[in-house]
């Protein structure tokens, strides 16, 4: 950029930075608008929601919609929320433990069949999830696991993504630390729990956040595996669409109740999610 000789001072200067900032603000507004629309509708009466002209801010704000959906006998929202919390936390814990146990020998040990087994389980990532949905459903019937917490926890633990990610991370930990501990007489389990895992906390948190969000927002699987009081929150709220058709006040109240907790969790976990995207080797 060449510096212009100062002419008559321009009355209004619009540097590129400002233009860029204004453009970003407009786009951010477009992104936020649907969420605002959801929020204000949740606080409107059914009449106000479709009133003309539109109320950009609810004239008669009401908690009625929240009251109705929280107290509808056939929509046990609080129970669904608990199911979601419990199964997501249990799944995340089980998945982290199993993924780390599996990743450890792949990263740190030599054994027969290592390469073959690794590529075999890695190949499972090529198989689209829909392929095992129906056979799994029939299996779950035979296990008598339909409408149980088991069905929401165990089948997903076989997922290989976490193994792949943790193996990458374990490989980056210096071998010397492990050898020093071994000379002190530590056995393999002690090394694993006292040295490898504590050093892997950033990766564990990242994988944990991904696993939790994945389980929390899972839709296809629980839709067929659990029903009634055993439903998870996203499926339960999804079923609302069918039941409450066009009563948008109630639908938006339900959607708000489902969205707000994850948005809050996200604000706190944001650092790890962004970190995780580079850590998982997705970068480049």
């Amino acid at each position: 950029m060449t510096v212009q000789a100062p002419k008559a001072a321009p009355r209004f200067k619009m540097p590129k930075e400002t233009l860029r900032f204004v453009l970003l603000c407009i786009q951010a507004l477009i992104f936020i608008a649907p969420l605002y629309w959801m929020l204000i509708t949740a606080f409107k009466t059914d009449g106000d929601a479709i009133a003309q002209p539109v109320q950009w801010f609810p004239k008669n704000p009401t908690l009625e919609n929240f009251d109705i959906i929280l107290n509808t006998p056939d929509a046990n929202i609080l129970r669904w929320a608990w199911n979601s919390v419990f199964t997501s936390v249990a799944y995340t814990a089980a998945h982290l433990l199993v993924a780390c146990l599996t990743a450890y020998p792949f990263a740190r040990m030599q054994f027969k069949g290592k390469e073959q087994w690794f590529w075999f389980i890695l190949a499972s990532m090529m198989v689209p999830g829909i392929v095992i949905l129906i056979p799994s459903y029939i299996m779950m019937i035979q296990f008598n696991w339909i409408d149980s917490y088991h069905v929401m926890i165990w089948p997903g633990v076989a997922n290989v993504f976490g193994v792949f990610m943790m193996r990458q991370f374990f490989s980056s930990i210096p071998l010397e630390l492990e050898e020093a501990a071994r000379l002190d007489g530590a056995n393999s389990l002690i090394i694993f729990f006292r040295i490898i895992l504590p050093l892997s906390v950033p990766a564990l948190v990242t994988l944990g956040v991904f696993s939790f969000l994945g389980a929390w927002n899972n839709y296809l699987w629980p839709q067929f595996m659990v029903h009634g009081d055993m439903l998870t929150l996203p499926v339960g709220i999804g079923n609302f669409t069918m039941r409450y058709g066009i009563e948008y006040g109630k639908l938006m109240a339900g959607a708000t109740l489902t969205a707000i907790p994850v948005l809050i969790v996200y604000v706190f976990a944001q650092k790890y999610i962004e970190q995780g995207m580079t850590l998982t080797g997705l970068k480049e």
Partner: protein, 316 residues
């Protein structure tokens, strides 16, 4: 006394020892995952093969062998299953063709704007990414309301702000994909944007400085430096987005329920309908294998790219 004197100082070779002298240790670590992997992944696939060549009926105890009948049905155009299945494959492909370019281009446009430092950069990044953490049901319910024929946000703006006639987005067959594609872009574009931002942070500033000396403007720098250097990222983003879009399910089920007249019914939606609503589990399993094979082509590309990434990080 003699025993303690001869006690070996090196770790004893025993199958109970948890150290490197025991060759079983690695396998013990692998065992929990291996069991789950066989029970919940390998076995269902094998079981699926068996189900698809028999007539499996939840109300019947006998399951007669039918061979490849459920597969050949899918290629017999007189059969209703074949018509609906391939229609859903075409529908899903339309969605892929419409959504993938949007998801790549919008992600790139957002990332370019946030590439250089700017006021509230972190805030903007959060705003563009945060819809991605919502569940598909929230996204679908929300956008159904935004595109509502009568009083949705978009029609309200058209009517009350611009004084334009309302449009029946949710029932007009010509634009029925628009709400679904826009909802999907809003929902997932932030993920791709983050991948682009991560890749951009790896581009050396010296390229831009050299270009500035040559008098390149902002667009030229983007076209001749940023874009070519982002090519591997673009390929990766495109392939993963194609895969994600082929898995279309929740958005179309919850926004249009596959309608009008099955125009937006995705493959997964039809497979689950055939299985769970029509109780045609064998037929649905055969369909999922055929569709799985189609998707495998795309997944293989992604898999190769990941394998490349592994070898590259090993070399480092």
């Amino acid at each position: 006394m003699l025993k303690t004197a001869t006690k070996p100082t090196v770790p004893r070779r025993s199958i109970f020892a948890l150290n490197e002298s025991n060759p079983l240790v690695p396998y013990l670590y692998l065992l929990p995952h291996a069991i789950l992997f066989f029970v919940f992944f390998v076995f269902p696939i094998a079981y699926g093969v068996w189900i698809s060549v028999h007539r499996w009926d939840p109300l019947n105890t006998i399951t007669p062998f039918v061979g490849l009948q459920f597969y050949t049905n899918l290629f017999d155009i007189d059969k209703i299953q074949a018509q609906f299945f391939w229609k859903s494959v075409v529908n899903t492909s339309i969605f892929v063709v419409l959504s993938v370019p949007a998801l790549v281009v919008v992600a790139l446009v957002l990332a370019v704007q946030l590439q250089k430092p700017i006021l509230f950069r972190g805030f903007f990044r959060t705003v563009f990414f945060s819809p991605g953490i919502l569940s598909v049901s929230v996204v679908a319910i929300l956008w159904r309301w935004v595109f509502d024929n009568g009083n949705g946000l978009i029609n309200v703006v058209r009517r009350d702000v611009f004084n334009l006639p309302i449009i029946n987005y949710m029932t007009d067959e010509n634009i029925i994909w628009l709400p679904i594609v826009i909802a999907t872009v809003w929902w997932t574009v932030g993920f791709n944007m983050n991948l682009y931002l991560a890749a951009m942070s790896g581009i050396s500033q010296s390229y831009y400085e050299a270009a500035e000396l040559d008098g390149a403007n902002g667009f030229q720098k983007f076209w001749h430096i940023t874009l070519p250097l982002l090519q591997p990222t673009t390929l990766f983003v495109a392939v993963t987005t194609v895969l994600a879009s082929f898995n279309l399910y929740g958005q179309s089920v919850l926004m249009t329920n596959g309608g009008p007249s099955r125009m937006t019914q995705s493959v997964i939606h039809y497979i689950t309908e055939e299985g769970f609503s029509n109780n045609q589990f064998s037929s649905a399993t055969a369909m999922s294998f055929v569709f799985g094979l189609i998707m495998l082509v795309f997944t293989a590309i992604q898999f190769r790219m990941m394998a490349k990434d592994v070898t590259r990080s090993r070399e480092k």
